[in-house]
């Protein structure tokens, strides 16, 4: 691609890191393949063969990516990268906060509260400024989804604080 924009020097690093990550994954797989206990059950091919092959494949492919990165990389040619707007740290931070809030709250408070917190934060990440409306929408949606999954699909999700209150108000047993 001679007519493409000239490659900025700083773009070497991201591709190199991607390659190194795949090498790391291969190393992790190799280590885990080595610690598989030897099977007492007789088999022509033991449980280790394929894990070794996958680990070897990842190491080879990772090396290939590192080689490609050192020769100039690939991602600077991508349209999505060339035209990418700058990193939106505000959106990423709010969204990560949403995911972490969900992780922290889902155990003690149950699905609806945790997912509501997540909904409000993710909506804010994407630029919503109507906090109260989002809160109401989120509560209705998460409760509807919880009842849909539990009652219709039969998924077993323990009732949290809010779900328990509603079930009690409806005169049903709280699982």
């Amino acid at each position: 691609m001679s007519d493409a924009a000239p490659r900025p020097d700083s773009s070497l690093w991201p591709d190199l890191l991607a390659g190194l990550f795949v090498l790391f994954l291969g190393g992790l797989a190799l280590w885990q393949a080595m610690v598989i206990p030897v099977s007492p059950i007789y088999a022509q091919v033991g449980p280790k063969a394929v894990p070794y092959a996958v680990a070897g494949g990842l190491l080879l492919l990772g090396a290939g990516l590192v080689y490609a990165a050192l020769r100039g990389g690939w991602s600077w040619e991508l349209e999505g990268v060339q035209q990418a707007p700058p990193t939106n740290w505000r959106a990423l931070t709010l969204m990560s906060a949403g995911l972490l809030a969900n992780l922290a709250l889902i155990g003690p408070l149950g699905f609806s509260f945790a997912a509501t917190a997540q909904f409000v934060l993710v909506a804010a990440a994407f630029g919503s400024r109507r906090f109260l409306r989002d809160l109401v929408v989120a509560l209705v949606l998460t409760l509807a989804v919880w009842f849909g999954f539990v009652e219709v699909l039969g998924v077993n999700i323990g009732a949290g604080v809010l779900e328990g209150l509603i079930l009690r108000a409806l005169g049903q047993e709280v699982p």
Binding site: G57, L65, G98, A115, F119, V122, V155
Partner: protein
């Protein structure tokens, strides 16, 4: 069973009240998720997988296939009205479709896409009905060694032949194979790649991986590059096609369908290639007075052909899935895991052991096609309204579904941590142009390939040459090598010829 007897059995089952209900529900859901940017059929079917514990296999698969077909119909709406294709197969539709919408002809574009999808879906389903039993006949001759080779071919084609780079496609595939290995080895009972974490003994759940790749990773990537602003939805207007619209569409519909189906059937799968070929064919064949509409005001041929090719290819994907148990798209891989959750072995025995299920499924594909045209043409205004859901609430809502789908697997926080971890990896995969479908395919097909390999080696008493001394197996493996190296050799040859 021959196709005619099979179909009559299938239709008598599929036309029951509850099965029609499942088909209608599937088509409705499928169109909705096809229209919505950010969710596709793979994610939807993954989220619906818990239904397999409650509903009969027939009902569940009718629902899934309705979603699968419906998403193809819905995808064109987004491409045309929003100019943001939701999946790779509708990128080409957006080229001309969005131009037609800009020049006030969104209605006819949507109509030709819907009717083209119907024509192609019907031709594709006919293809499944008559080609399926033939492929099964052939497949019944194959032993584990041939099966293993076939899976290797499938791995190569889905990861290395399509997409930007063979290297990156293979990395995605091996990531999926790695995820598939986690858990207890079925043959010896040894834990593998569990890092000593007891939650991982059951393996990594496919729902979790699909949600991480298609919902969490996608949303994170969007947040990373988010710019405030609203997208413009073009008004639909009248959906009536003029007589000349119809005349110009008929050829592309049929050509697109006939072009798309074989591409879907081949283990390479993929909808990019047939849609692109159909686009260039129609551009070449268009009359001079219409040809100038290409790339300017939008030519209806450029919507009708690729959209038909897209649907026919999607229908074709069901042939290797139902007859060989080989998934060549992410959606097919997740449907395959639904078979496993019913304890049904996908593969050539499916047509004989589960004849009822298979033929009912095929019959309901015909029904779904009819339902979808009925749902899509008059209700197109409703689907266009779905597009107006504001982005912040849409993505926040998608993550609510992602959370419950994952947390519902076993109420485990470990699963959520894994979900976010793989989600972050998926975000970087988007950034660095690694395809995501090979991850899902590798994860589902990997354990099946390992089983076939170990069976073949048990039969040959540990002799690895069994894969190259059996002629059919050798031929398939050579084909895989050719698929891997052929494009590169051709590229080198072409460079020498021009340089």
């Amino acid at each position: 069973m021959d196709p005619i007897a099979g179909l009559s059995l299938g239709f008598s089952n599929a036309l029951s009240f509850s099965n029609l209900g499942w088909a209608l529900l599937g088509c409705f859901l499928g169109t909705a998720v096809g229209v919505l940017p950010g969710i596709g059929p793979a994610l939807t079917i993954a989220l619906l997988l818990p239904i397999t514990f409650k509903v009969s296999a027939t009902g569940a698969f009718i629902l899934f296939c309705g979603v699968f077909y419906g998403a193809m119909y819905g995808g064109s709406t987004t491409s045309i009205l929003l100019n943001t294709p939701g999946e790779s197969g509708s990128i080409i539709t957006a080229l001309e479709g969005a131009r037609m919408a800009r020049s006030g002809r969104a209605g006819p574009a949507l109509a030709t896409a819907a009717v083209g999808s119907f024509v192609a879906g019907t031709i594709g389903t006919l293809g499944i009905s008559f080609l399926g039993p033939v492929v099964v006949e052939l497949a019944l001759q194959l032993g584990p060694a041939e099966y293993f080779s076939l899976m290797v071919l499938c791995f190569v084609t889905v990861s290395a032949v399509l997409g930007g780079s063979a290297l990156r496609g293979l990395v995605s595939l091996f990531f999926g194979l790695l995820l598939g290995l986690v858990g207890i080895d079925l043959q010896t009972g040894q834990p593998r790649l569990t890092f000593g974490i007891p939650e991982l003994l059951d393996g990594v759940n496919v729902v979790l991986v699909a949600v991480a790749l298609f919902a969490v990773g996608e949303t994170l990537h969007l947040a990373w590059r988010h710019i405030e602003g609203k997208q413009e939805v073009r008004p639909v207007g009248s959906i009536m096609m003029s007589r000349s619209d119809v005349r110009r569409s008929i050829g592309p519909w049929f050509r697109g369908a006939l072009l798309g189906f074989p591409f879907g059937v081949m283990p390479a799968g993929g909808t990019e290639m047939p849609t692109m070929l159909s686009y260039y064919t129609e551009r070449k064949l268009a009359k001079p007075e219409h040809a100038k509409e290409f790339g300017t005001t939008g030519a209806i041929e450029g919507v009708a052909g690729p959209e038909a090719a897209n649907n026919a290819a999607a229908a074709g994907v069901l042939v290797p899935m139902l007859t060989l148990g080989l998934p060549t798209s992410a959606t097919a891989a997740i449907m395959l895991s639904a078979f496993q959750s019913y304890g049904i072995n996908p593969g050539p025995m499916l047509f004989t052991q589960q004849a009822d299920l298979v033929w009912t499924l095929i019959a309901s594909l015909y029904i779904a096609n009819v339902l979808l045209v009925v749902l899509n043409l008059p209700l197109v205004g409703l689907w266009a309204r779905i597009l107006k859901i504001p982005q912040p609430q849409l993505y926040a809502g998608i993550l609510v579904f992602a959370t419950i789908g994952t947390y519902g697997i076993s109420n485990s926080i470990t699963d959520l941590v894994l979900l976010y971890g793989i989600g972050v990896i998926a975000m970087f995969m988007r950034r660095f142009d690694f395809p995501t479908a090979p991850v899902v395919i590798g994860m589902i097909l990997g354990p099946m390939a390992e089983q076939a390999m170990r069976q073949a080696l048990t039969i040959s008493q540990g002799d690895w040459t069994t894969f190259v001394t059996r002629p059919v197996s050798l031929a398939i493996l050579l084909l895989a090598v050719l698929a891997l190296l052929g494009p590169r050799l051709y590229g080198a040859w072409a460079r020498r010829a021009t340089g």
